[in-house]
Symmetry: C2
Subunit: 255 residues, 2 copies
């Protein structure tokens, strides 16, 4: 019995400020190898990762992800991809029909990619490295496909920067456990209490204070701005409306 | 610098055989709390988990997941769900419009759920518990929705059994790292070599030997059966074709 792993998990905070120190290929391989040990649906291992270390390619990635400076600063960028292409190849080699057109096919591959990514994150953090997930990899997924030469049936799910921390990240409080955990059945009242309590707690941290601007379409008055408002604004906007078309283009039909 | 976390990660094997010993609520909470520390897109924490401990409910879950006996045997079943319902509530409380109709909305929530699930897995394993991911939770997702009272905008992504191992799981070799890791650009040739090498390696383990039966539509002869054939057969069948409709029913339109 060991609590070391749990301690490591609780220390997590995303790191966006890195030193210039490089990361050896062996270290990256050891991190990806840890990623591979995660569970994978029917051992299909339906994911792949592109480790971008070439500065020019990495700058292009940063641009496609919304010009995030920490992607340029980090010595390594990992593009975690759903990958049905190798299963398609297996089907081709064995002469069997191949299905990839269902939502389930995409979901299995996306889940495999994320399971591996989170194992890799903890492995990296345990070595003293800092990481930051980059959802911006889905801003222009076909741009990423072109840049990294991804074949059909491969799709970027999440990016990740990897580097030696210059400054530790801000560790944010999470929702009270009642906000995410239910016993036997979902209970809405439990969640409402948790959301309101958390909103107060986050207001006290000041983490969201720099964004005290009126929401689009609201009157100009300043208003209370904490987690509820932050999250409400995130879903008030259409989210990456081109994603479905890009998935189709890569062969994920989501039927 | 610690290698304890990486060692723990490398010991992973899914466990399907459990003792009768219970797991305290405090232990489950500590595992879910570790799950909460995983990264989450814009701190939205768009996941929830239902811990099923009531034997009758758990039996019903096991039936919906394809009558898997280890779900009945495990003292706890965790249903990891994508959850946009609490963000929808945030939008309602703050009086802003709410979007959930895009693939991106679903993907963000599914990714959050899986990141948390994998942290929880490692936390559980570090306490000596065994886990097994249950993709079968997507066999009849609306059955799960009814049983666990999941509201609209919540959807089961993966299940997980949790219990004290009676027998350790089988630790399966993974693809050579060349099968999943590329530098700067994807290289198809690298993958082909890895697949063939791995197929031989897995043949030697005998893990797939018990399934030496002819594939549907093939002649009756026995044939070499290893990872390639195993994986090819998995994608030779339509995969959970009702999933899209179930997602629509729950409010995930995947536009």
């Amino acid at each position: 019995m060991s609590t070391t792993v749990i301690d490591q998990i609780h220390r997590h905070a995303s790191v966006r400020d890195y030193t210039d120190a490089p990361i050896s290929r062996e270290t990256v391989e050891s991190i990806i190898s840890a990623g591979q040990r995660a569970a994978t649906s029917s051992n299909m291992q339906a994911f792949a990762v592109i480790a971008v270390i070439d500065p020019e390619t990495k700058s292009a990635v940063a641009h496609l992800c919304g010009d995030q400076r920490h992607i340029v600063a980090a010595p390594v960028f990992l593009a975690w991809c759903a990958d049905l292409s190798k299963l398609d190849r297996a089907g081709e080699l064995r002469g069997l029909p191949r299905h990839h057109e269902y939502v389930e096919n995409f979901l299995v591959a996306a889940v495999d990619a994320v399971l591996a990514a989170q194992n890799a994150t903890l492995a990296a953090e345990s070595l003293g490295l800092g990481t930051c997930y980059i959802g911006g990899i889905r801003n222009d997924p076909l741009g990423i496909v072109d840049l990294l030469h991804l074949p059909k049936l491969m799709f970027p799910i999440t990016g990740m920067t990897l580097g030696w921390p210059r400054k530790p990240g801000t560790r944010r409080p999470r929702l009270p456990i009642e906000g995410v955990l239910h016993w036997d059945h979902y209970e809405a009242a439990r969640v409402d209490t948790a959301l309101l309590k958390y909103d107060q707690e986050m207001a006290a941290t000041g983490i969201y204070n720099h964004r005290q601007v009126p929401a689009p379409g609201r009157s100009g008055q300043m208003e209370e701005y904490s987690w509820l408002e932050h999250s409400a604004r995130r879903i008030a906007q259409p989210a990456r409306a081109g994603l479905r078309e890009a998935l189709h283009e890569q062969g994920f039909m989501l039927e």
